[in-house]
Symmetry: C3
Subunit: 326 residues, 3 copies
């Protein structure tokens, strides 16, 4: 534990030094961040519904120059499904502390993150699996994870519990999941806009919708850039909205056991990492699809349905609306 | 309704004018077509099998110069599963009128199309969903859909009912589905030919096979370009045929609830939109794969099986033959 | 049979002639190889577990100059699940003889291969399917398959039985499957290394892990290039290992009926044939994913879990460890 704290301190200490020797003294995965440092505290708690959920308690961002700004109020001060979306840029690091707030259980709860760099201590698994440490919070004993959004990790990644329950493989299916969006250093992503493949500036995106596909339900959240990145919990099968012509970014992620096909009416997009123009994509558990559309492009305003195209899921109500207004 | 008819008339009127002001007077999604106008009438009917099916009644194509040619006889004058394939080119528009011919039911039946541009009135959903109109045919009251194969919509897209049945989400699983192929304006698609990735001229493709994967059965149709685009219904798990060396285009589309892997013996192709060389691809409901092969390339003539590689589906007889002859 | 033997002999005879007229006398799929000829004998047998398995009996490689080297001892002299991995390079050919060693059954057993070129006689299916021949071994009657790893066939391909059992569609689900890796002539594959997309020399890859995803179990094998390509059977849900910084190639292949999402902790890679950076991919039966990672890149040593991310599969124990040590 002391070793962990020391490691943490030395990284922090580096921030103020332009000529930090991190490169020679520390392994690559612990180098000083080239971007911002995200200091995050979350808590895993019970919901009245019987689900479990992550709650944002505190979120501060430290710039390279050491300036700190508190962005906690971007988040609702309640637990949500999906959990809070964490937005990084290539070069950023995050220190995420998790508190155990699940009543009636002493089982460890964790955050296992995808995509970004982290050491085995930060794997979010139990010691029996990672051979090193119970990488999880216990009642009264928070746990801090160190992540590095290194170059090459741009993308939309899930995080989720990997220790709670019996067997101790995690309770992601109970609601303990959320997304980490790592934006590319370039600030641009390819998209199909006005019928052409172009690079879109992410700073021009007005809203982002995170939609999780879990068995027969969508669970959603909005990140509203017109409101300084405010995150709006949308819960199940939500109506999401946009003004005609706005650039909108969708992040669709699977979780649980079922396979899905995500379809959005009246819109089409570039399948991630390819030149394939689609309006429906296969989504398996933890597979994902991030894409930008121009709201109502070529089709105008309307209550455009999005739904799973697996017939049984659709008939179980796995649908929502993308409302485009003038 | 009058508004709809007027909109239609103004578009038609534009066709004869070279200096049509459509660009400034009409929204982008109602601009004068840069290509041909497809005037199509179909009917949704019962089959003796208990399935439902679309039937082609009339198909006329109006050129930019206003010349009309009747291509109805490209289609069998009977209802088929899958429904008639509609073939457009980027820049074309289609006016598709659907008649309700399902005996014993007054429930609305519709055509919801993927990929192309259309207004919310043409969504093929009920008013409770699209908040505008019952976008569907009722007994004695046909409904006309306006589609625009705008630039950037090239691809193989499904169309299907989205209103029949209870709940009114559609009866695609009963047989009410078909394909729209939007060919790129360039006339070319990438393909793996003689071991190299090249651009193939679609005008060199001799036959196209549309194969739908529905639960444990393939449902197919052939478009034969040696017979001026004649469409040949193939029904279930068909044998399809080609001469050695012919360029053949497959369109594989999923529907219903099951996930599949489409495999074709002895041939390999470029996974759509990528450089991935495959001979088996994941197909979920409404996900799709369009590709060109040279029949028998490097392997010669033979009764080459195609089948779902999900073992249970294969054992249920989800197989057909791609017969390549000299 | 005589015809087959003659064809075989004429091909062999060609090897010693620089000015072989194969191009004009033989169809393309029987041309003289531009690379090496792999002479392989395998046997399909029963395992005490009730499974069936392929066993390597003999493996010789003949160079273009006619030199022969025996590489049989790269393989364990026992039947394994998955079966022996066969490694070719674009331009190579293989003659694979299969013996029938399944006790208590006279049903034919075969090898149906994916990806490479072969004639319909080498399809590994029964005559009722391929309309030509029972392309399979019977008790006392081995069968020889001719494969050509022609240009454009680079990739990781499954082979499996396609005739045993009732119906005679194959017993791949009983253990009769293995992989053919066709390496590109260029010797290079794209990979995400140190956060950048680069071309990796396959000669720099130290170990390859072949992991089959079958219902709720991984079945694996290692190809160790530090031990001259020795193949090490790993059986079910194995721990695989690497030294920090080594280039490691994974080949993940589905089989059977279930769909999976393959996830590896702490690492990310390029989805095959795309620029999509992933750490989880959809794997259906016979769909596959081949990729290179730098062991522990940016994350250091550790017991990094790999597992199916379908929750029910994970909870059924569909997990293993990628152990990275310094």
């Amino acid at each position: 534990m002391i070793k962990r704290l020391l490691a943490k301190r030395s990284v922090v200490w580096c921030f103020g030094l332009m000529a930090c020797l991190a490169g020679s003294l520390l392994p690559a995965y612990a180098a000083a961040p080239q971007g911002e440092t995200h200091l995050i505290t979350m808590k895993a708690v019970n919901l009245p519904s019987g689900q479990l959920a992550y709650q944002m308690l505190a979120y501060k961002i430290k710039s390279k120059d050491g300036e700190i700004r508190d962005v906690t109020d971007r988040y609702e001060q309640v637990p949500t499904v999906p959990g809070p979306t964490i937005i990084l840029t290539e070069g950023d690091v995050a220190e995420v502390t998790l508190e155990h707030g699940i009543k009636g259980s002493k089982l460890p709860v964790s955050i296992h993150v995808h995509g970004v760099h982290y050491k085995i201590e930060d794997d979010g698994t139990i010691k029996a699996m990672n051979k090193k440490v119970d990488s999880a919070a216990f009642p009264g004993k928070p746990y801090t994870y160190h992540w590095e959004a290194a170059p090459g990790t741009a993308g939309t990644w899930p995080y989720h519990d990997h220790t709670f329950g019996n067997p101790r493989l995690g309770s992601e299916d109970k609601g303990l999941y959320g997304a980490v969006i790592v934006n590319p250093k370039s600030g641009k992503v390819p998209a199909l806009i006005d019928g052409k493949i172009v690079d879109v500036n992410l700073s021009d995106v007005k809203r982002e919708f995170v939609l999780w596909m879990h068995e027969t339900t969508f669970w959603g959240a909005e990140i509203n850039h017109l409101l300084d990145g405010r995150q709006i919990p949308l819960w199940s099968n939500p109506t999401v909205g946009a003004r005609l012509g706005e650039l909108i970014r969708f992040h669709v992620i699977g979780i649980g056991t079922a396979f899905h096909t995500f379809h959005l009416h009246g819109h089409r997009w570039l399948e991630q990492g390819t030149k394939n123009v689609v309006d429906a994509v296969n989504i398996g558990p933890i597979s994902r699809q991030s894409f930008v559309v121009k709201a109502g492009e070529g089709v105008g305003p309307g209550a455009w349905q999005y739904h799973c195209h697996v017939l049984q899921h659709m008939q179980s109500g796995m649908m929502g609306v993308f409302r485009v207004v003038e």
